[in-house]
Symmetry: C2
Subunit: 543 residues, 2 copies
């Protein structure tokens, strides 16, 4: 090989931090405090405090590679940790405050977190598991009043003791910078260890026009928590290009989100479908109440966006949604559903396309593979497991040999999502691999069935799961929750589905239950349904 | 160091080529033929032909690291070479067809080009130096009629002999992909060897909103030649995001450029100031003749853009110019002058800011340094040499130890441009380092003086150069060309400058000459002026 003769300049997060200081010092970070008031400062202020945090952590003995955890909502102090910790070569580990304390205990212990930086309001949660984390040396409490108990340290006091001015150490771009654990529904949570390189590249990608197009003129609001897959990279990107940042704090109710979007002239916001569904419904009830003229795009991910939601924002409120897909293992952005050339840009076709998960962003590659490992053609029909690869895709889990089966021998990550891919390259998720039903050797998409059942006027929600079957191996059964005061029989639902699917796809039975079990992130827990009702078709039916 | 656990996915140009095929197969590449007719095909066609070129080159014995040169205008076949050559691990070396054949002989020999792919129309130029290039094994002629002489090969015949389908080899991202020689006015030309990594990152950067924002919806017209610093990366970026490409061929006259911009609905075009000045003048003479409503931005670089030109496009034609700076050694884009927050966005202040060279793009860093090596503050006043570093900045020249002094011991590239940097970070070039005048230990900006002299109504052009001086070391002398039929005396010019500069900046003398010597790229050759008139102030003046 003839090597190129270009500088060996490392791709690090520190570069973005320094850009914010150097070129965008006057841009703002706005955070909503728990009491509803707003905190605002500039990147100039942000930079100096981030320097001080870095120095304070070094003084506490944090060394390169050490894991420094946060247990916090979205706000400016969390953003300081976002850059200070990786900047000194340590690893920022964002703990998911929605997990059960036993899970947090496992995760913090497994990661060997040496410091936890925690919101005062989350101390009760921390107290439930801190004793179990043997590696823990310091707890730093973020609050405004400095009233800290026991041996805990006060965040503001630590910063107050430091002077400005810091020489950020040179870093290897492949060194670890960030860490998130997957909230897998099966097995133990597994840690993803992002490098400076992967984060820097992902950040750059988010600023390309055809992805999220984050730029200096933006006011970016990450409604998605900073402890979920790096807040989808938005905080990193905003700092890097000098966009204003608007943090909603703990109150993610639709009214609160809308107030902030209007008052701070937010141009770009990102959240899961649940949040946007709430926002859409409130907008529909109160037309014209909020001035959202600054918005150029909102982004949705974390779960599939219902087409009706995409259309509702578009047609009733003139707000464009960009649907994205990714996982903790992919930093997270891997595909975006954007109407590209050659695809219908109008009417219901366009909505249907935009409701797909989209196609791979630059530097990510996609394929789907059947049970035997054969790469499938892009015909929009054949279902297979989605696999991706790229510079911001995990190559293995942290200290987790049992996760090795998620990676193929030829270098792809097995996402666990069952998809079709159409001729234009658009990926459509039809199921999680563990939820897919295999009937007589053929796959049945539970998601398509659920969407159809939920379109029935009496149905609040429905989950279709695999029940064991003597002849076919597995057959679909639907667990259905009816709307209050509404009625529907099995026959009604069967009739409702008839003609929409191949006959062999239709559920063998419908179970009316009170509530569908969910994970901490709101996803259906189909394994629970299986455990409870999996033998339903084997046993004699109850009357 | 704790390594991150992300995939070791190489950043190569091949990725962009495959994206064009996979996701943007229907987008178009349009080229104007020498006879004025248009050739158009899709990226689908482009991809297949690029595969075939790759296979043909391998069949000819081209091996990884081999240099494959082009001597060609901007068109689709040149674009095929742009990706096919690096795609097989070889190095695409773009020869500058505007150089003298003795320079081309030196450059092609120094690079040890083994293949030259040449436009039929440029065979006369090639014939003047091909015999001198001992490494040359094959000449491939690009033409439409296949009439090839001697042992030369016909491009179309080579492609015609290959079948579609090719497995692109895996490549190390740090391997060499491209090569350009600087057309330095001093010393021998020096080769810059770009890697896959540097080109891939530069490509990504060009697609960020705050740089050039190149995206799929664009129709990109690189008026800048593909043999000048990679056509500023536009062809790479357009392929990567699936933008339409519009190549102007050899005719770069303003009318031809405007015709194509209008008929192909060009959204983004880039060229040197000379081209845009001609375009502006033609637009002024023919208001409304061309429909340029598709244009979102035009880009200018290669030399400083006159403020009046930026303003003229803006106010008279509603066309936004983005001024950029870079060098062959920086891939080339290093700074962009964009109005950022905190800087006046209206009136003459904004024009003055946009006429500066701007501030560093993401991943590039800038500083300026005085003669003693001290890094200077950003006060908009102190002049120093601009230095840059980043992943697409050269670290050394190819086989050229005498170029080592262009790189500092702490890892920066010395650009040779003397600049000021203001408090917002905007770089303003005041001189080339070799042209700057040092009088009594202080620097004098020749460019500022020249601009002021050229504002005199009788002056066509003026170059200020350093003449030796017994007391001060050097003093400025102006070489002036008057407009036809206009008159001005030394006294007139001295009076014209008075009060605009510190007294000690004013030229000691004015020489009226017929023509200012220029380099092949149109820059003033001040070394020639120095050689001829450098002792002017030492000798007794002629009457």
């Amino acid at each position: 090989m003839l090597p190129g003769l270009m500088m060996d300049y490392p791709l690090t997060m520190t570069h973005f931090l320094l850009r914010a200081r150097t070129f965008f010092g006057g841009r703002e970070v706005v955070s909503r405090n728990p009491d509803g008031s707003l905190h605002r400062y500039t990147y100039r202020d942000y930079y100096v405090r981030t320097e001080k945090l870095a120095k304070a952590l070094l003084r506490l003995g944090v060394r390169p590679g050490d894991r420094v955890a946060t247990l916090a909502w979205n706000h400016y102090r969390h953003l300081e940790a976002y850059y200070a910790v990786p900047g000194i070569g340590a690893v920022l580990h964002t703990l998911n405050l929605r997990l059960h304390h036993t899970e947090l205990s496992y995760i913090a212990s497994h990661a060997e977190d040496s410091v936890i930086i925690v919101d005062r309001s989350l101390l009760p949660l921390l107290s439930q598991f801190r004793k179990d984390v043997r590696s823990l040396r310091h707890v730093i409490v973020m609050s405004d009043d400095g009233d800290v108990e026991g041996g805990d340290l006060d965040y503001e006091a630590l910063l107050g003791a430091e002077s400005p001015g810091f020489d950020w150490p040179p870093l290897d771009e492949r060194s670890a910078a960030l860490m998130c654990y997957t909230s897998g529904t099966t097995g133990a949570p597994k840690g993803v260890l992002y490098s400076h390189r992967s984060t820097a590249l992902h950040t750059m990608m988010l600023c390309m026009v055809d992805t999220k197009g984050i730029c200096e003129a933006d006011a970016v609001m990450p409604v998605v928590p900073m402890f979920h897959a790096n807040a989808w990279g938005m905080a990193h990107a905003a700092v890097g290009v000098g966009a204003n940042l608007v943090f909603p704090g703990p109150d993610l109710s639709p009214g609160s989100v809308l107030d902030l979007m209007a008052s701070e002239r937010v141009t770009f916001a990102a959240a899961v479908p649940t949040v946007w569904l709430g926002v859409l419904s409130l907008l529909d009830e109160n037309p014209g109440r909020w001035d959202l003229s600054a918005i150029r795009m909102i982004s949705v991910g974390g779960a599939a966006a219902p087409p009706a939601m995409i259309e509702g924002f578009d047609t009733r409120h003139g707000i464009h949604i960009r649907h994205t897909w990714g996982m903790t293992e992919t930093n997270p952005l891997a595909t975006i559903s954007r109407i590209k050339s050659g695809v219908s840009a109008t009417g219901s076709d366009a909505i249907a396309t935009r409701a797909k998960q989209g196609f791979a962003v630059p530097f990510v590659e996609q394929r789907h593979v059947d049970d035997s490992g054969t790469v499938l053609p892009w015909d929009g029909k054949q279902m297979g497991e989605l696999q991706v690869r790229g510079p911001w895709v995990a190559s293995s889990y942290y200290e987790s040999p049992e996760g090795a089966d998620k990676f193929t021998s030829d270098g792809w990550f097995r996402t666990g999502d069952v998809v079709t891919i159409d001729e234009h390259g658009y990926v459509l998720i039809t199921d999680r691999a563990k939820d897919v039903i295999k009937s007589g050797g053929e796959w049945i998409s539970t998601q398509a069935l659920e969407n159809a059942i939920m379109a029935h006027p009496s149905v609040l929600e429905a989950a279709v799961f695999a029940a064991e079957h003597e002849k076919w191996g597995e057959r679909p059964v639907a667990a259905v929750v009816l709307k209050e005061g509404k009625a529907a029989t099995k026959g009604d639902l069967a009739a409702h589905l008839e003609g929409r699917f191949e006959k062999w796809w239709l559920p063998d039975d419908y179970l009316f239950i009170d509530q569908i079990p969910r994970t901490s992130t709101g996803k259906f827990k189909k394994l629970d349904l299986r455990a409870r009702y999996g033998k339903h078709l084997m046993a004699p039916k109850s009357p």
